[in-house]
Amino acid sequence: MQSAPTSAPGCDIVVSCRGVTKSYGSDEAKVAALRGIDLDVRRGELLMIVGPSGCGKTTLISVITTILNHDAGECNVLGRDVQRMSEQERAVFRSKSIGFVFQLFNLLPALTAVENVAIPLLIEGVPWKSAKSRANELLATIGLGARTTALPANLSGGQQQRVAIARAVVHDPALLVCDEPTSNLDHETGHAVMEVLRSLTEKSNRTVIVVTHDHRIFEFADRIARMDDGRITEIVEGKDREQVP
């Protein structure tokens, strides 16, 4: 199946990719990671990107989050052409507009839960007291009000991922990118984490892109994009998830 734009006419598009390509290496060692991605992501939707390892999922979210430059094509995120941003602009853009949730949580081990959650606010220049207050509120919202001073090493995997989600949304980003958020968690915990994720994004009409292999969480998706060999081969509505192999 050919990759194709999938936005419905009139929808508010948060991410728009047209013919995006990206290769690694050079000459004979050149490997194409993205071979012409066309993708629209709507405001407020939860889009899951699935596919086998090495199909280009991570490269795609790296391009969307301005961490990586693409080689050709157009990629607009929140109305900004990512290719035209300077390194400094990209950093500021990420700090204000994008939240990240990683598979390995990537919490800073020396910082307590509340300090970890406050990091995006500190990066934005919010004073420590205000950042801490906001982080405490958010942790209480997701049921970790009693663990705010705990170090990551003293939290369970599920608790760590909830802290990571709180960290990702504390600065109220318009776009949330989650990389295998449930892969390191058991089914029940993964489900609970996704519930937290949904509860924190639904109200704010935030767009969420989730890269995952975990078919158990497909039920949370509004749409599911399947990637293979650097291309989006298929996009289905969440209700049709049974069609995704």
Binding site: T58, I61, T65, F102, N106, A110, P120, I123, W128, S183
Partner: protein, 397 residues
């Protein structure tokens, strides 16, 4: 974000302790080495330090330090005394002599001949003996001058002053009052032991009066090494020194200037100093190498955390600031610890005649060197953090 930087640093106690120990060790090493070196240098001008009442030292125009020296004619003393502004001027003779002990052993001494009238230049003495003891005929006062075991005389009378070959392996004791020595075949009697400052290079010292020094030293046409001058009240030593030079044609230096001259002369001319410098430089380089590697490793091991911060939008400048803050904090605390340990060590060592002198510039040099290495290490580490690909935080990388 500086709070985050500090917590990242303090969070890993083992690494943090390792860093602090490395930096403290390096600053200790540098400061200790500097103090050790300064100790040697101050020993070089011990003769000047032992004459605190002397404002100006007058010498042959060719002399640049208290060692080596060449002598002036005895008339120089009167010429100096005739200069306006000179309150007192006394002679001091320095000479080298091979001194024979009662069992036949010989030892090279520096002979210091002090003014007969004032006995100016005699260091503090042991056992309640006063400098007046030098007024006895052929009297000398001895001091090890920074050496050990060189002032030993036979215990048994039977081993002393006999004819025949020397008896070098007989039981000995410390030379003391009443013992005799031969200086250039002239017998002298030890009347006391001094507590003189240790010398660099170390050598036993033999204090006697100027007139007795002329008698026991090998005859020379000129025997006056220095004229020790005190300035009239209100007259600056440097001004008096210039005036003496103008009026007599001799070289005259204020005490502080003469100390500095001596240090520079030793630095420029002593082969021992070169050896010491080489050894200390190697030790310091090793210390700095260890410290630099530790600082670099700390940042390198935290690269993933920096990548997370970069992904979340921390600018390269902000990351660089964090790394420099971490390095600066380690450097300040580590340097403080190192200097503290060095000062404590110095307190113990100064009582044991060890050449340790923690002068103002030694901790300053230590701190400066640590600062430089910290900045360089932080810069190298920061380069790694700034050039890393933040995408490594994703699972696919």
């Amino acid at each position: 974000m500086l709070r985050v930087a500090v917590k990242m640093l303090l969070g890993d106690r083992v690494k943090y302790a390792g860093l602090l120990i490395g930096i403290a060790f390096t600053s200790f090493l540098v400061t200790f080495a500097g103090s050790y070196f300064a100790g040697f240098m101050t020993r070089g001008f011990a003769l000047i330090t032992e004459n605190p009442r002397t404002d100006v030292w007058v010498m042959d125009p060719a002399v640049r330090s208290v060692e080596p020296t060449t002598n002036m004619p005895s008339s120089a003393l009167d010429r100096v005394r005739s200069v306006e502004g000179v309150s007192t001027a006394v002679p001091l003779a320095l000479g080298r002599a091979d001194v024979r002990f009662p069992n036949g052993r010989f030892q090279s001494f520096q002979v210091v001949g002090v003014d007969d009238a004032t006995l100016a230049g005699v260091p503090p003495l042991q056992d309640g003996v006063t400098a007046m003891a030098l007024r006895a005929p052929d009297a000398v006062i001895v001091d090890p001058g920074g050496t050990t075991g060189k002032l030993q005389t036979p215990v048994e009378t039977a081993d002393q002053w006999y004819g025949g070959p020397p008896r070098l392996n007989v039981p000995t004791r410390k030379l003391g009052p009443g013992d005799d020595l031969l200086v250039n075949d002239r017998r002298v009697t030890v009347v006391g032991r001094a507590r003189a400052l240790s010398r660099y290079p170390p050598r036993p010292l033999l204090y006697t009066t100027y007139s007795n020094a002329l008698r026991i030293l090998l005859p020379e046409r000129r025997r006056l090494t220095f004229v020790l001058v005190t300035a009239a009240p209100g007259l600056a030593p440097r001004a008096l020194a210039r005036r003496i030079e103008d009026r007599t044609g001799l070289r005259a230096r204020a005490s502080d200037d003469f100390k500095a001259d001596t240090v520079w002369w030793i630095l420029a001319n002593s082969e021992d100093v070169g050896d010491i410098e080489t050894m200390l430089s190697i030790a310091i380089l090793v210390g700095f190498g260890v410290m630099g590697v530790l600082l670099y490793m700390f940042t390198n091991e935290n690269l993933r955390q920096y990548a997370v911060l970069r992904a979340m939008g921390a600018t390269p400048q902000r990351l660089m600031t964090m790394i420099f803050v971490q390095a600066a904090l380690c450097a300040i605390i580590g340097t403080g610890l190192g200097l503290g340990v060095c000062a404590v060590a110095g307190q113990f060592l100064t009582g044991s005649d060890y050449p340790f002198r923690m002068m103002w510039f030694t901790p300053a040099v230590g701190a400066l060197m640590v600062f430089i290495v910290s900045v360089v290490s932080a810069a190298i580490s920061a380069r790694c953090a700034l050039t890393l690909e933040p995408g490594i935080v994703f699972s696919g990388r």
